[in-house]
Symmetry: C2
Subunit: 217 residues, 2 copies
């Protein structure tokens, strides 16, 4: 077939000679509107077709720009990936904190955890992180932050509902919910739905048992 990108590019697979010293190469400002469009296009591409589809040429095309502009705003494609991830993670983190501040309950955590696009996003990045060190570090960092935020909310929800540690520890409940959400989403991507209804209703009844109804439906 044709050439491509994912197998050896200077910056993509090995570290590459970074030429740390000289290099007067110009880089666009972070608050540029064009830069935002590039990130939008790249994120869409990532979600729809996987990280392998995120090439400077395709991103440029999707954004209606010359592919070279991608290189103007991002020194390497790794930089672009890290930025896509950071931007999205930061946004989701805020959304999370806002929702949990408004209603710190088990069911809110469950609702947020089962957002499919969030899972697709993180699966794609875990696969990507599998072989790109710079990206792995970034993801690990946000994974910890996410878990901390969720744990905090879950802990306060447990306190409120009087759930004790000998029933289940908040952190265990969190990993359980995260895991279930992940399998369900992955399955769905494949078109597999065996047992989904039973599992969802099990989780929901477990939540209802631990955290009896109070106000919202």
């Amino acid at each position: 077939m044709s050439g491509g990108r994912l197998a050896s590019g200077r910056s993509l697979w090995h570290a590459g000679a970074v030429k740390a010293t000289s290099s007067a190469r110009r880089i666009g400002t972070v608050d540029s509107k064009t830069r935002g469009r590039i990130l939008d296009a790249a994120e869409r591409l990532l979600l729809d077709e996987g990280y392998a589809a995120v090439t400077s040429r395709r991103v440029g095309a999707k954004a209606g720009l010359k592919s070279q502009l991608v290189h103007y705003y991002f020194r390497t494609m790794d930089d672009l990936f890290v930025e896509i991830f950071r931007r999205r993670a930061e946004r989701d983190l805020r959304r999370f904190e806002r929702a949990l501040a408004a209603d710190p309950s088990l069911r809110t955590v469950w609702k947020l955890t089962t957002d499919p696009s969030g899972t697709v996003f993180s699966i794609e990045f875990v696969a990507l992180a599998n072989h790109r060190k710079a990206i792995r570090a970034e993801i690990a960092h946000y994974a910890e932050r996410f878990r901390a935020a969720q744990l905090k909310a879950l802990t306060s929800a447990f306190d409120k509902s009087g759930i004790t540690a000998d029933q289940i520890a908040p952190i265990a409940a969190l990993l359980l919910m995260t895991g279930v959400a992940q399998v369900l989403t992955l399955d769905e991507q494949l078109g597999v739905k065996t047992g989904h209804d039973e599992t969802v209703s099990y989780v929901q009844s477990a939540i209802a048992r631990l955290e009896p109804e109070e106000a919202n439906p």
Copy 2:
């Protein structure tokens, strides 16, 4: 950087002109020893560096063969991917059935489910399936078979231990275990371990509660 492969290749990303009719191109026999070596090398590469590292050239190098031999044994790279998957899935499936025939218990299912290489393998393929139709179909097929085999074992284990459906349905228990195993493995790949000990011991005690000790430790 350099060229590469994963972004547009004729057969990799779009369907490509398959030229279904003519094409007298020769293909090696399925029982060839060389073919096996190619599959071994490709599987290792996939596990260690991700699917993007599986190119005909790199596979050839890893197997100590000319890359063209990869094309001799596999018409397209998609064919190679499907074969890697099929071979491994079939092997795991047999291993599964053997282990569960010997000891059809909840804890055996848990032990098998938490094999990290199995999870890494399937994550990699789910990411791959995200944008390759032919592969997705294959994975979905095996996912169903796996689940069926596991479910059968779990159902018989539940019967044996007298676990009833109003505690938890076998299929729900299966998805729960699969999900937890997935999160744990993914986390570990990133170097994140927050809450793992608590979660593992929760699962183990849940298993012990549902399925009281009998013989093996």
